[in-house]
Symmetry: none
Subunit: 360 residues, 2 copies
DNA sequence: TGTACTAATGAATCTGGAT
DNA sequence: TATCCAGATTCATTAGTAC
């Protein structure tokens, strides 16, 4: 094989990459610095301070400096990959466009971009943008000609209730028990990824026994998932504290018996449909009238999905409660629209939208 | 205004962009071609075919050509945008990384990347990759300093059942009735976007009357949504067949009545009421006592609208922050007065004054 | 032992108008 | 352009504490 596996190498990512033999690893998974360009402190509405990622390793002088760094480590990864190997990188809008362009320029062949939808992202506290609720992964083969990359299509389909796995994946953040803590009980690493994410990546794109290289190993999520799934790993990490934490963490992992690589089925909840989507879908229009069940009260719909009754305005639920002087109200069943057959609850419009939604 | 609106200009995108005056449009929405390495043939942006597609140099050359094209039209959009303007681009993994990098290099300031999750994507027929079930939009302000881009935060929150709108949006593809057909009943345009997507983009990031420029107008989805929502549009399109289709399509759109265009406004936009005005209106008197939410702390009101607590004095906000040792405080919600029904925030007094004000 | 409430927190490019 | 300051702003989840 020529390359030692199941090891963590402490040192500079690019220097250590250069020491690895060419065409020796099956998969690269990389979680590089995102080059966040943060302003000052950020306070929550309760005045508590957000614990920002302000580590020195995330600071770059310019896009040019970040690009140079990116092309260096990606270039070495290209060299180190077997011809039928592949690579994953995760990032956010701050860096993923630089990374994606670099991959294309270096001859990698993009297979998919994957969206990790976070179930519990941090909100946008100041109300200035959309909640940044996802990160992006890029999956790329070594080159255009390399059609022989590994993709366990059936395992993915099986894991997704027998329909093809899509390019949007939904996982919670890494919190609670899973999140490694330091001696003070604070998070040990600022950007630890959930093992479930790595589980899916590895299950999708490697075979048992494959060698997975992670050049930004951190506290070793890639190694933990690899060992659990019967794959081998090589981790590069600069910070000796993280190396020690990763070693201890991975030592406790008990690999799954080869026959037991079972995947938890995804629970289907009824997808939430905001009322605004009924307007966006054109099932109602701004200015349309809605009525209470008996038809005597009327409200008018606005373009953002709010209702107006006289001086009152707000969500379908809030306005429904107010006109009845009730503490609460289910607007979906209270408000009715005029159809051919008389008044019908707007809930039937929601049902229409749901019937067109993906099962995942 | 200096720029003609509600028009479609037939011609080359970049040439026609150059004719538009600087700082004249509020928003750009662009759906540029991503005919990059699709299928067997590799096409340059000018539709000339790249010969030796396996040749790495040619591959690079095609990226370079695409980048050049991208930077040209984006550069012109930057010039044409008002300083408080913003831009949206939609793309897939084939081109979005090139576009995102170009935006950053040209000085645009990225605000969000948005994922359009398709409810009904085309499956991956060969089972070789994940179902490509999303496209990516980038939302960017003209520059880092330009904080005054339009974001109708409250309207978005309202449209999403009173929780912040996230960066992942779910819409079906444009099919059925909405999809324009040619004389043979085939789809008239290969990549027609759903109007619901444009509805959300426009509602989120423009005001009524704003001018929206779409340099790749196609069959005019941007114009249709803009007209419906009481915004103005400028469309650039090379293909006269598309121009004709778009004109006919948009002519049939009935704009929403201006009164129905109003959406939930932000509190920031409400008229400022100095606390002293509450005293001038006689709703409180000098010497009255105000209390913190739980009632244990007390402050006294002075005739000029300042508060006094022991040795401390200052504005309602400053004193509120000081007594809590907090970095900041909204005095309107922190301080309470004694009413018949117990403690009530002084914000209700502000509301009384606002409701008596002329509706501007 | 359960239930109810409070506190903490996560890769975040996070205010804006007047002077 | 820099400074000042009014005042607007959060969702899902876990862990801990009180009753």
């Amino acid at each position: 094989m020529g390359v030692l596996a199941d090891t963590i190498i402490q040192g500079d990512c690019i220097e250590e990459l250069k020491k690895l033999p060419a065409k020796s690893v099956d998969l690269v998974f990389a979680d590089p610095p995102y080059n966040l360009q943060l302003g000052g402190d950020l306070l929550r509405p309760d005045n508590s301070k957000v614990d920002a990622v302000d580590d020195h390793w995330d600071q770059f002088e310019s896009f040019a400096a970040y690009d140079k760094f990116t092309r260096e480590w990606l270039g070495e990864c290209h060299r180190v990959l077997k011809d039928d190997g592949a690579l994953w990188v995760i990032g956010s809008y701050h860096n993923i466009f630089r990374v994606g362009s670099a991959l294309q320029d270096l001859g990698f062949w993009l297979l998919n971009d994957i969206v990790w939808r976070k179930t519990n992202p941090m909100p946008n506290f100041k109300g200035t943008r959309f909640t940044n609720a996802h990160e992006t992964l890029i999956w790329a083969a070594k080159g255009r000609g390399s059609r022989r990359y590994t993709f366990n299509y059936d395992a993915m389909k099986m894991a997704n209730d027998d329909v093809q796995m899509r390019s949007d994946w939904t996982f919670p953040l890494c919190t609670g028990e899973e999140r490694l803590k330091d001696e003070n009980g604070a998070k040990a690493h600022p950007t630890q990824k959930p093992e479930a994410l790595l589980h899916r990546v590895i299950l999708a794109s490697t075979k048992p026994g494959d060698i997975i290289l992670d050049p930004f190993f951190g506290t070793g999520t890639t190694g933990a998932a690899a060992k659990r799934l019967g794959r081998r790993y090589i981790g590069l990490e600069q910070d000796e504290k993280y190396v020690a934490l990763a070693r201890e963490r991975i030592s406790k992992i008990i690999p799954i018996a080869p026959g037991d690589l079972q995947v938890t089925g995804s629970k289907k909840a009824e997808p939430r449909v905001p009322f605004g989507q009924v307007l966006e879908a054109g099932l109602l229009s701004p200015g349309d009238a809605l009525y209470c069940p008996k038809g005597e009260r009327m409200a008018r719909v606005r373009a953002d999905g709010s209702l107006v009754v006289g001086e009152l305005s707000g969500s379908i639920h809030k306005v429904g409660a107010m006109v009845q002087s009730a503490p609460a109200c289910n607007g979906w069943t209270y408000w009715h629209f005029k159809s051919d057959k008389g008044l019908a609850p707007i809930d039937v419009l929601r049902a229409k939208i749901r019937s067109a939604m993906p099962s995942a």
